[in-house]
Symmetry: C2
């Protein structure tokens, strides 16, 4: 089975659950339901890895330390690109290398996604022009100012346009499950939600 490469961008002061939620969903999805199928990768449709600008340890918000799998230079082709958020996004607003990398990866990816304030980086890269999108409730107004052609949706956990964006932090889990559903159908997404005991399909809570 040809697996899709899921590349999750991480950086200093990335919010932990922003990337760990999608990492969990994509790495535990199985086309074969149940507990046993999770013991190996035979029916896993995704190959999931973290990507950072360099291979040095990343210090996440709260201090969690993660060793990236690959850097920009060594990353394989990415089919599903995940851009998480966190306070660290602010340092990347004017970072041309990161902006170019996101733009290049998004151009080649089958699907580009963001969690929380990761949407601000997508907007800075021009990827939300004339798109509907969302972000963390504390950044909705900021998102609207970056690209005035973006329609900011304030009442949804996940917005599915050409790019999938999600509301804050835990909503990234909903987003990842929606990606699974769009690629492999509702039964696979619901069964993955059951495996990780995530209450899928809740309304907006913020």
């Amino acid at each position: 089975m040809q697996k899709l490469n899921v590349g999750i961008f991480i950086f200093d002061d990335v919010e932990v659950l922003d990337f760990a939620g999608p990492f969990e969903v994509f790495s535990r999805t199985r086309l074969m339901p149940g507990i046993e199928s999770r013991r190996n990768a035979d029916s896993a449709p995704f190959n999931v890895f973290t990507v950072a600008r360099s291979i040095e340890l990343v210090r996440c918000t709260g201090g969690l330390r993660v060793q990236p799998h690959v850097d920009f230079a060594s990353a394989p082709g990415i089919d599903v690109l995940v851009i998480p958020g966190g306070f660290g996004t602010r340092q990347l607003f004017d970072d041309v290398d990161v902006r170019d990398w996101i733009r290049q990866m998004a151009a080649r990816a089958q699907l580009t996604t963001s969690v929380c304030t990761g949407a601000l980086l997508l907007a800075r890269a021009g990827l939300l022009s004339h798109r509907r999108a969302t972000t963390h409730w504390g950044a909705l107004d900021l998102l609207a100012t970056i690209d005035q052609t973006t329609t900011v949706e304030r009442q949804r956990r996940v917005v599915q346009d050409v790019v999938f964006t999600s509301a804050g932090v835990a909503a990234g889990i909903d987003m990842a499950l929606d990606v699974v559903e769009s690629l492999y159908g509702r039964a696979v997404a619901d069964e993955t939600a059951k495996y990780i005991e995530f209450p899928r399909g809740q309304q907006f809570v913020a």
Copy 2:
């Protein structure tokens, strides 16, 4: 302000969201509500760190690589002990060092908690004798066999006895929020849930 030390045990093949969910909740809790208070640790009631048997990189389920903050020997006192689950728990069932360490930390902690199959390790350490407890839905029967004096609760996301145990994976987020509520009140827990946009208070979904 005196912060409580939250020590989260990690090990090879720990389930990512099992430890990342509580890490997110405890590290982002603030006694002062809002976005700005999250920019520093002034009103943070917890000091959160990961603990492993040794300081080597931990390879989590799905391949996420995490650098532990401290090892067993160098860990500071732990006020809130978190034991996550994952397939890696099976390798630790008969590990006397891990069992003794859990028992010692739990004896000194203000509160001991588990996520998912972390409850199996607590049971092996004798900490669930004559207690009510839960675990991932796929391990409920196994939990009942480890210590026959444990009352296994099959319909709750979090069971609050002397030890707090939770159902699988994402239910660890509920558990951590319940700990916050038990220590700092409902308003602080609900505001933290709002910050991370987690739909608190859902019923059992598995």
